[in-house]
Amino acid sequence: MAHAHAQETDKYYVPHQSPWPIYGSVTLFTLMAGAIATLNTWLPAWSLLPGFVMLALMFFFWFGTVVDENQRGMYNMAVDRSFRMGMMWFIFSEVMFFAAFFGALFYARELAVPWLAGGGTKALDKVLLWHQFAGSWPTNGPAALGPRADGTFETIPALGLPAINTAILLTSSVTVTIAHHAILANRRGLAKLTLALTFLLGFTFVYLQAREYHEAYTEFGLQLGTGIYGSTFFMLTGFHGFHVTVGAIMLTVIWLRLMKGHFTPQRHFAFEAVAWYWHFVDVVWLGLFIFVYWL
């Protein structure tokens, strides 16, 4: 180097030959093939297992390679910027994925259900097809789909578990921000503590959500098959819960890296990426709390 910066090379690091992407493609194919075989009842559900095992290994080895390269100082600030932008646009794509399901919720609630009940120009539908259907929300549709013989179901009251879960996620957003400030101030003890708190809160959220699902299925008559309300409720909260689980696992990994002495006040992209992801999951939850549970 003509003029050496601390831990900084002038060249943009371009890896030469990597086995992980093609391994990842085979992994996704295996996973999809397992899912297809299961859904088409060609094979029992264990056919999903190889895909999941391979997926776990992919993340472990691929990210392991990147972490290792990073620790060896091969990434300059330009590479760091690429990672940042990449993560931001990945989160934007996730936002649009949730937007599709929120769109389905709003469309069903504001248009499809009122039309089924004869709203707009659809008065004839009511006369000819669904004359007993009131079209109020929440609904499981004119055929009153669901597990109960009388076609009724109950919804989860917003002020019960969902309110507690809101408090949990908002608190975890605060703790992860404290952890970030602690890393910036090089107070690693505080960072470890608050980050641990963050993922523990995350897993608590998932646990409470699982209990809520159990209650909905066994006591409220609210299931995935409970008409459009059950569909939108479980798909929205389900994908969110999946994202919280993934986020909490990522936070745990970051915590383990922090324990191993990774990250400096200047360079801690992985931490920030996971923190952004966590805030994203948090914001989606606020949307869910307002539009799915509350209103």
């Binding site: 932008m85 008409g227 059950g230």
Partner: protein
């Protein structure tokens, strides 16, 4: 970044040449290798999808059922569309972006090279899944590429295969798009500000935003199909309070921007080629950028024009009609600028320019029939007829596909270091340009006369134009063999290309400052852009 470092260059010496064998391709991180794989994959899919089109045109050569049974015919129309859209056109553009974006902005590679490999190698697996539906009980998807419920959900074993294949294609597109955006925003050479950036990069930047915004929405839509089919949800089931029309809204919220995903990079290519062969700078370059961005924005608020007859409040019909017609304004700006660039230019007509000029005329025909379809009351007559088929084939074949061919003929000498057989390439152009019109122009007449799309049989009065169209189809299909021949010959050898390749290319883009063929690693030291 800008200074040369002798010792860093030394460090790279053993990586200057590609490694030999299959590992070069399986483990590739080099943007040129990955771009090549994308382009080869796209060409193969172009022929696979094309052969399905040949089946369709053969069956439609005369009325009655002669070659295939109706179910298989419907599988052909559906698979033809899916393969051409997701397997041929989109990967071709991503391949071109892989090759050209780093060369045009002076970057050493794409920003995220491992993810680049991932986004390519997902595709062959996705299409393995999709194509294998032809061999499962119940056959391939046959309800149209738009996958409307409830029809698509009445399918056999293909349902999860189709849905997961679409998921994989979407993941691949999103990763490819993220890579393009990050490369352009982060990897430009010093001095290459956004307004100096070539139009191809600009149009790809805007396309990449569209991709990231809408591919997840498609993933959501097909996920709802999956849960409706297998897990008892009621998104598209009126009995449970859902609505099959809702799928169309979600699908076309993806689908309309998707249309522009397949044409904006083509606009960028044409904006590169016309100035080179007119020996003039592009007329109104900045207005081109604004026009592209306007089209991209408008593409999000016009989706309803795909479903005018579905039952939609009149206010919504009016809104979608007006917003759709508004797209003609920025598109008109672009066509005007291309024409103005050629005005009093010193024109020459090498194969890329031939394809670009044909694009100008024929894409405009597709644009005009699009305006006709945008008129709600007129659409009531045209919808679901061959007029629609003629319209979107005009924008996609002599539009997107011609632009891809123009790009290949434009940059092939830069990639291979060899000039190709000009006579053969021009023959390929003239055969394609003539046959594509013989193929698709009569379909306007058929559609206006009322022939519905997606049917294997038709009333006898449609026979003549169907025969003409089929002859055009066979001619167009066979002509494409020439395309493959020109490319293979050029890869294997030929007259050496200079670094500029085209006499008029000098001022247009950094790619002409490096030798032909482009070295395996280019711009490892960033160039200084004045």
């Amino acid at each position: 970044m800008a200074h040369a470092h002798a010792d860093t260059a030394h460090h790279d010496e053993h990586h200057d040449q590609p490694i030999s064998g299959i590992r070069r391709w399986l483990f590739a991180t080099n943007h040129k290798d990955i771009g090549t794989m994308y382009l080869v994959f796209s060409l193969i899919m172009f022929f696979v999808g094309g052969s399905m089109a040949m089946v369709i045109r053969a069956e439609l050569f005369k009325p009655g059922l002669q070659l295939v049974d109706p179910g298989f015919f419907n599988q052909m129309t559906t698979m033809h569309a899916l393969i051409m859209i997701f397997g041929a056109v989109m990967p071709a553009f991503v391949g071109l972006a892989n090759w050209m974006v780093p060369l045009q902005i002076g970057a050493p590679d794409m920003a995220l090279p491992r993810m680049n490999n991932f986004s390519f190698w997902i595709l062959p697996f996705a299409f393995t899944l999709l194509l294998s539906t032809l061999f499962v009980p119940g056959g391939a998807p046959a309800g149209g590429w738009t996958m409307y419920p409830p029809l698509v959900l009445q399918g056999g074993n293909f349902v999860p295969m189709l849905i997961f294949a679409v998921h994989l294609m979407g993941a691949s597109s999103i990763m490819g798009a993220i890579n393009v955006i990050v490369t352009i925003m982060n990897m430009r050479a010093p001095g290459m500000n956004l307004l100096k950036m070539p139009l191809f990069c600009w149009s790809w930047l805007i396309t990449a935003y569209l991709l990231i915004a809408v591919m997840p929405v498609l993933a959501g839509a097909v996920t709802m199909l999956l849960t409706d089919h297998f897990f008892g949800t009621s998104f598209f089931n009126a009995a449970g309070g859902g609505d099959p029309v809702m799928f169309e809204h979600v699908f076309w919220f993806f689908g309309h921007p998707e249309v522009y995903i397949m044409i904006l990079p083509a606009f960028g290519i044409i904006s590169e080629i016309i100035p080179t062969f007119s020996r003039k700078p592009l007329f109104g370059a900045v207005s081109m950028i604004y026009a592209t961005a306007s089209i991209a924005f408008l593409s999000f608020i016009v989706w309803g024009h795909h479903m005018f007859v579905d039952g939609m409040p009149v206010a919504a019909q009016l809104f979608f009609m007006m917003s759709t017609m508004l797209i003609a304004v920025p598109t008109g700006v672009k066509v005007f600028n291309w024409t103005a660039t050629m005005w009093r230019g010193s024109l020459s007509f090498e194969p890329p320019m031939l394809f670009a000029v044909a694009f100008l005329f024929l894409f405009s025909i597709g644009g005009f029939s699009g305006l006709m379809l945008a008129l709600t009351p007129a659409d009531f007559q045209y919808q679901n007829t061959y007029f629609v088929v003629a319209h979107f084939h005009y924008v996609l074949v002599p539009g997107a596909v011609f632009a891809i061919m123009a790009a290949v003929y434009y940059w092939l000498p830069k990639w291979t270091g060899n000039m190709y057989n000009m006579t053969l390439a021009k023959t390929h152009f003239w055969l394609s340009a003539i046959f594509v019109n013989v193929l698709f122009f009569p379909q306007h007449f058929l559609g206006l006369a009322g022939m519905p799309r997606r049917i294997p049989d038709y009333a006898v009065q449609f026979t003549d134009w169907n025969m003409v169209s089929s002859i055009g189809g066979f001619g167009f299909g066979l002509s494409q063999i020439l395309f493959a021949v020109v490319i293979i010959q050029c890869v294997r050898g030929g007259a050496k290309a200079t670094s500029t390749v085209w006499e008029g290319a000098t001022p247009h883009g950094l790619e002409w400052t490096i030798p032909s063929p482009a070295p395996y690693h280019s711009f490892t030291e960033a160039p200084e852009v004045k």
